[in-house]
């Protein structure tokens, strides 16, 4: 079992930061409404419902209707935060997301709950590993994958202030904090969590802390790894990627998603366009077997040791 980040005793469920931030924003801005598919509990939106009973719209178990209705609400001046399990929200309402949200330019925030393999033993029907690649393929869709409570809060704050469609992943998987609390997020800007000049590890979401732990292991072996938290997959911080390609010998991406077309794909596409370097891409590379979320991250080589192996491979040492 993967050890927690040195010094981090506490872990967090990012849904708490999500709902706290949303409630605070909704107090200031009455345009904000929640839209759910029978998912108040699984989105931890009880506090939102208590504070704003009329502004929490349950559409029942009906994801197409959920996103379509959100488009109508948005076009009539509301700011809907649509919140449902990432697997159903994305796969079931894909055309509404493409047409009613992105193409129509509606001001909709899609909050994909418990993405990746967060649902662990509930299996591949409940895993949402394709969502990042799927959403990234859609023009004008901002795709955010926060790593911890601070990034989650910052992503939600940023999304509320931005006029357009945003997809944000919000995980239930316990993670330690990798940032202090008052983070400001700028889509298109990665956060450098650790400087380094041998190799660059680019991660996002729940595996960022595992990547930091890998960098510590590498440091102990005399390898200096730069670590970026690439919260925003679209737009991507291409400058930070190109700098990494120029200044270090290779790049490893780490994500709780299919790397094909995901963060791994986004970084690879940038690298070949500007400064080709060797890469390795870690992620959930197929339908997962039965196992807990943590078990599956290890299974797919995203233990610190697994990440170290990829970094060594890319460096050839």
């Amino acid at each position: 079992m993967t050890q927690l980040l040195a010094g981090a005793e506490r872990t967090f469920d990012c849904r708490d930061a999500f709902v706290d931030t949303l409630v605070a924003l909704a107090r200031e801005d009455e345009r904000i409404v929640g839209v759910v598919n029978d998912s108040v509990g699984s989105s931890k939106l009880d506090a939102f419902r208590t504070a704003f009973p009329d502004r929490l719209v349950n559409v029942g178990i009906a994801e197409q209707d959920m996103v379509g209705m959100a488009a109508g609400l948005a076009a009539s001046g509301r700011i809907p935060f649509v919140s449902g399990a990432a697997c159903f929200l994305t796969a079931r309402a894909m055309e509404q997301i493409k047409v009613d949200a992105a193409y129509s330019g509606n001001n909709i925030k899609l909050c994909g709950m418990s993405p990746g393999v967060a649902y662990g033993e509930l299996g591949p029907t409940h895993h949402s590993i394709e969502d990042v690649a799927w959403m990234r393929a859609i023009d004008r869709m901002v795709v955010l994958v926060p790593a911890d409570p601070a990034e989650t809060a910052a992503a939600i704050r940023w999304a509320a202030g931005y006029d357009g469609p945003v997809f944000v992943r919000v995980s239930r998987m316990p993670v330690p904090a990798v940032h202090g609390p008052d983070l400001v997020l700028e889509p298109g800007r990665a956060t450098v969590l650790r400087e380094g000049d041998d190799v660059t590890l680019i991660a996002n979401g729940t595996v960022v802390w595992r990547t930091l732990a890998a960098a510590e292991l590498l440091a102990a072996d005399g390898i200096s790894a730069r670590v970026l938290s690439m919260t925003s997959v679209s737009p991507l911080d291409t400058d930070a990627v190109v700098r990494a390609a120029r200044e270090t010998a290779g790049i490893v991406t780490v994500e709780e998603a299919v790397p094909r077309g995901g963060l791994g794909g986004a970084v690879a596409e940038t690298v070949v366009r500007s400064h080709p370097v060797p890469m390795r891409m870690l992620g959930i590379d197929g339908f997962a077997p039965t196992g807990s979320a943590a078990y599956l991250l290890d299974h797919f080589q995203m233990s610190p040791e697994g990440i170290v192996r990829q970094a060594r491979e890319v460096l050839g040492r």
Partner: protein
């Protein structure tokens, strides 16, 4: 696809609504004549652009005309007014008739119609939200407009506003499950500010609705989903005006209006012919159809 369409093919003149309180007979005559002009212009649009969905255009034009000509509380200078009524064309493939209707009532310059389907035009083959002032939603994929309309209706409720929402769908379109999700939601939230009009022409893309995927009994379905159902002749401007224009609302229930129509109406060789779903009239057919429209008693029913 041809692109012969030019300014020479624009016959439409922009009109306005008759003032509130005008005698009903005058209003109905004005609507009928406007619908005729819209058909004439739409016919030219499809013929000279070489593409379009004329069958569904012609089954919907009377509903569109009555809504814009006498029912909807919206106007070209009020397209951003939060208190405007909302209209959503869910059967987006009849964009041609929609653009012509919007031009007829001054939402876009008539001259712009000449750009229909041309490179970089804002008059695409399916309506895009805000590509023309007054277009509330991007449609074309079927089964999107009703959920969006329910969202608008719920927004009105949240705002404590009396504004109304109208959605026009195809009948084949009601095979989409997304619509039944939205129907359930509309009645759950008791959205009596919502009116769904179904263009019940009995035909879809490839065949009749009965042969493709039977919808009957459509009224019973809507009733079981909590709607107040009524049926109307979808080409009868007076009947449409009385029904859609009525301010009465069944308490707590959204309305479901089954508008019985004919695809391609009233053209002799198009009417009820599924081939005219997206066939383009050739020169002879154009001339015949035009003559038939011109021969209609001005002001009489189309």
């Amino acid at each position: 696809m041809g692109s012969l369409l030019s300014h020479a093919h624009l016959s439409l003149e922009a009109t306005t609504r008759l003032p509130a309180g005008s005698p009903r007979a005058e209003v109905v005559a004005h609507l009928a004549e406007t619908a005729r002009q819209i058909r004439l212009q739409d016919l030219a649009l499809v013929h000279f652009a070489g593409a379009g969905h004329i069958g569904g255009d012609f089954s919907a034009i009377d509903v569109l005309t009555v809504l814009y000509g006498a029912v909807l509380d919206v106007a070209p200078d009020r397209v951003e007014d939060p208190e405007r009524d909302r209209f959503i064309l869910s059967k987006g493939h009849v964009a041609g008739s929609y653009y012509v209707t919007l031009a007829a009532f001054g939402f876009l310059p008539v001259e712009q119609l000449a750009t229909f389907l041309k490179p970089l035009s804002s008059l695409n083959g399916h309506p895009k939200r805000r590509s023309v002032p007054g277009i509330e939603a991007s449609t074309g994929p079927l089964g999107h407009g009703l959920p969006i309309g329910v969202g608008h209706a719920l927004a009105a409720r949240l705002d404590g506003s009396e504004r109304q929402v109208f959605v026009l769908t195809g009948d084949g379109e009601m095979q989409e499950g997304s619509n039944w999700e939205a129907m359930m939601t509309a009645s759950h939230y008791r959205l009596d500010n919502l009116t769904v009009v179904v263009d019940r022409n009995g035909l879809q893309q490839g065949a009749s609705t009965e042969a493709s995927m039977d919808l009957a009994p459509l009224g019973d379905k809507a009733r079981a989903f909590g709607f107040a159902v009524s049926e109307v002749d979808g080409h009868d401007h007076g009947a449409l005006l009385d029904l859609l224009g009525s301010p009465e609302r069944p308490e707590g229930r959204p309305r479901f209006v089954i508008a019985h129509t004919h695809k391609g109406h009233p053209i002799s060789f198009m009417s009820d012919q599924v081939a005219w779903h997206h066939k383009v009239p050739d020169a002879d057919q154009y001339a015949t159809a035009r003559d038939e429209l011109l021969a209609l008693t001005p002001g009489g029913p189309a």
